[in-house]
Symmetry: C2
Subunit: 447 residues, 2 copies
Amino acid sequence: MIEPRTLKGFRDYLPESMIPREKLIATAQRVYRSYGFSPIDTPAMEYLEILTGKGSDETDRQLYRFQDHGGRDVGLRFDLTVPLARFAAQHINDLGTPFKRYHIGTVWRGENTQRGRYREFMQCDFDTIGTRSVVADIETGLVIHDLMRAIGIERFTIHLNNRQVLQGVLQKQSLADRSVPVLRAIDKLAKIGAAKVAEELRDAAGLNEEQIAAVLGLAEVAGSNDQILKSVENLVQGNAMGEEGLARLRDIAAGIVAAGVAEQRLQLDVAIARGLDYYTGAIFETFLDELPTIGSVCSGGRYDNLAGLFTRQELPGIGASLGLDRLLAALEELGRLEKVRTPAAIFIPFFDAARRNDYLRLAAQLRERGWGVEFYPEPKKLGQQLKYADQRGFRAALILGDREWQDRQCQVKDLTQMRSEQVPLDDSLQALEESLRRVLRSEKNEE
Amino acid sequence: MIEPRTLKGFRDYLPESMIPREKLIATAQRVYRSYGFSPIDTPAMEYLEILTGKGSDETDRQLYRFQDHGGRDVGLRFDLTVPLARFAAQHINDLGTPFKRYHIGTVWRGENTQRGRYREFMQCDFDTIGTRSVVADIETGLVIHDLMRAIGIERFTIHLNNRQVLQGVLQKQSLADRSVPVLRAIDKLAKIGAAKVAEELRDAAGLNEEQIAAVLGLAEVAGSNDQILKSVENLVQGNAMGEEGLARLRDIAAGIVAAGVAEQRLQLDVAIARGLDYYTGAIFETFLDELPTIGSVCSGGRYDNLAGLFTRQELPGIGASLGLDRLLAALEELGRLEKVRTPAAIFIPFFDAARRNDYLRLAAQLRERGWGVEFYPEPKKLGQQLKYADQRGFRAALILGDREWQDRQCQVKDLTQMRSEQVPLDDSLQALEESLRRVLRSEKNEE
C-alpha cells in the first residue's frame, strides 16, 4: 500500500477552495478580455538557459531543473514574465504591436516553506507590449479598478507612482549611482519607519543629512493627490527626468479619473519603488481598505525593454499581476467566501426508485434552461440524501415522491431557509422556474 | 543573445489558438458544473512512487522524473487519473460519497514526437466516485451529450458498450483467462478489419474456430439499438455476467434516451473495449459524424476500484475525458474555428489626440455595460489603426473625430461588412448600443 500524500509545499485544491478560485480566474479572464487582452500560454518547461538568463541568484537557486529524455537541461518556469520575454522575442513579428496579452498559469519555485510560501502557485498577469503610450499606463489602472469591482470588492485603493520621479530626486541629489541601496531602503518605509530608513540611508548607502532629508521628503509627502503633486514639484524642480516623470504621473492620474474611477480610490504614493532594477515608469499597487496589512493584491509597472536577452528589438511595455492566493486569503479573512462544495444550486433527491427516468428527464429539462441540477444517484432514505445536500451547500431541493409525480406537483424546498412550497409541474416548467427564481434569487448556474 | 525557442514537443499558444481553447474549457466547466461536478486540482509534481505505482511500462518510461531540492524522487503527472486515485484515497472521508469532480489540468509525457504527439497537453476529466448506481452511468452519457451541443456540435454519435457483455461472451467460450490478448485484438477491429483480427485471435491468442466466430459475432452485431440488444441476447444467453451486463446496457441506453437524448445520437457498440484491464462496466466513445476518422473526442467508462494502491477502501466509479486537442483539431478541420486574435469585438481608434480622455471614458462606459472594447493606445494614422483592427479580427469600430465629439455623434463601422452608420452619442448610450447590437448580432463580451 502506497501512502497517499502530497509533496511538502504543494497542495490539493478541494472543491470548497477550488470553486471560489475558479470563479476568481473566470472573473479576471472576463475583465482582461473586455480590454482586448488576449490569452496566451507557454510551456511549463523551458530550456534552462532561458530561465537562468535573467533570473536573480534567488530564482536560480529555487529553480526546479533536470535533464529531459533527450539529455537537454530544462527547468520549470518560476514566473510568467521570463516566458513572456522569450515568447515576445520569438513571435512579435507575427503578433504585431501593440500586443496585449494575459496569461494565467502555474509556476514553481523551490521556496523555503517555513515562510508560509508554496512551491507551486498560480500567476495571473496582463501586459501591453510595444508601446510607450500613456494610454497603456492609464488602462493598467482601469483594469485593476474593474477587476476589484468585478470580484465584488468596493473598498480598495490603487497606489500610483512613477519611478522617474524617484529617479529625478536621486539625480538632483547626485545619488543616481547609489539608486540600488537607496531604493532598497525606501522600500522598507512602510515596514520599519522613517527613523530606521534614515539610519540605513546614512550607514549603508552613505547619504549626508541633506540627501537623507530629500529622499525622506518623498515619504513625507501627504494630503490630497493635488497637494501631493504640488509638493513633489518642489522636490524635482530643475531636474528634467523628475519634471517629466511628474508631468506623466499627473497625466496618468487624470486619465484614470476621467475614465470614471472615483478619486478616493486612486492614491498617489511617490515613495513606492517595487523592487530595484526592473520598473522604469509607472508603478501600481492595490490595497484593500478593510485589510491593508495583507499587502498589495495587484501590482505592476512599466518597463523599457522586456526581452533584451532574446532580441535586439526594443520592447517597452507595462503590466501587472493579480495576487490570486493573497486575494483569496483576504476574501476568506473578510468572510466573503461562500462555503459551498457544489457548483450546482439545485438538488433532486432520488425518492421513488420506480421514477428514475422521470427525475433524469426533469433534471435535463432544467439544465437546458440554464439551471445547475444534481440528481442523487441512489434511492436512499430521504434524510440521508438531504444530509448530503446540506453538507455540499445546495440551495434548493425538489422533492418528488410517487404522489407528486401522479399529481404533477413538485415541492420546492429552500434549504437555507427551511421553507418549502408546492408548485404545479407542467411541460413549460414555468411555475417551477418562478419558484426557483424566488428561492435562489435568480442565481442561475452561470454567474 | 539567447535564442528564443521552445523545447521539442512543447508549444506556445498564440491568441488565435488560445482564444478558442479557453472558450472550449469554459464550456466544459459550465456543463460539468451544471451536473454538480465540482472542480478540484492537484499538484503537477508528485512523489515518484505515486506515479509509478499504477502506470504501465510505457508511462513509466515517459515520465519526467528528477530529484527536488530536498533530494526527494519526484515526477510530473502524466494523467489526471493517478492523481485522482491518490487524492480520493487521501480525502474521501472529508469529501463523502458520491463524490463528483472535474479536473482540467496539464499533464506531461516524454512521448516520441514523431508520432505527432506533444509532450505537454491538457486533460479535461469528469468522474463520479463512490457509487455503482446506473444513474452515474446514464449521467456520463448525458454530460457527453450536453458537452457536444454546448460546443456547437449537433451531429455526433455516442457509442456505448458494457464490458460485462464482452466478459460474458469470453466466459461462455472459456476464454476468461485469455481476455487480454482477445480484447487487444478486438480493439483493432475498426483499424484492421475482421479478417486480420480473426488471424490474430487464432495465431496470437490460440482461439479455435468456434471461439473466433463467437468473438467476431460481437463485431458483426448490427442494426438498430433494439436489434443489437436482441442479437446480443443470444450471444450471452446462459452466462450470468453476460446477461447481467446486457440488462444493464439496456437500462443505461433507456435512461439516456428517457432524459431527452435523440435516439440516433446513441449507438450501442458491443465490440468496443477501450484498453485492457481498467474498465469493468459501461464504456463510452464519441464520434463526430462529419469527421469520424479523427477518432473518439470524449471517452471513458466504469471501474470497480479506483484507488486500490493507496487505500483498502473500495472506490467504484465512472468517468470520461474530453479530448481537447483532438476536438480543436476537428473544429479547425471542419472550418468551425473563428480566426480572431482579439477577445473584444469593438475597436476604438485613437483619432483625435486632444480627446484622449473622452475615448477612455466612452470605452469604460461600454465595458460597464458588458461590451468588450479595445482603445488603440497611440494617435497614429487612421489607416494604420484600422489595419491593426483588421489583422486582429475586430467586428466593429467606433470612429470619433473632433467633429463627431463636438456634434455628439459616433460613426459605427461594421468591419466585416464594411458598412457604417452614424448614431447620436448621449449619456445613455442607447442608440450606440442598439447599433452595436445590430452589427454584432448582440454578441457581447461574455458568451
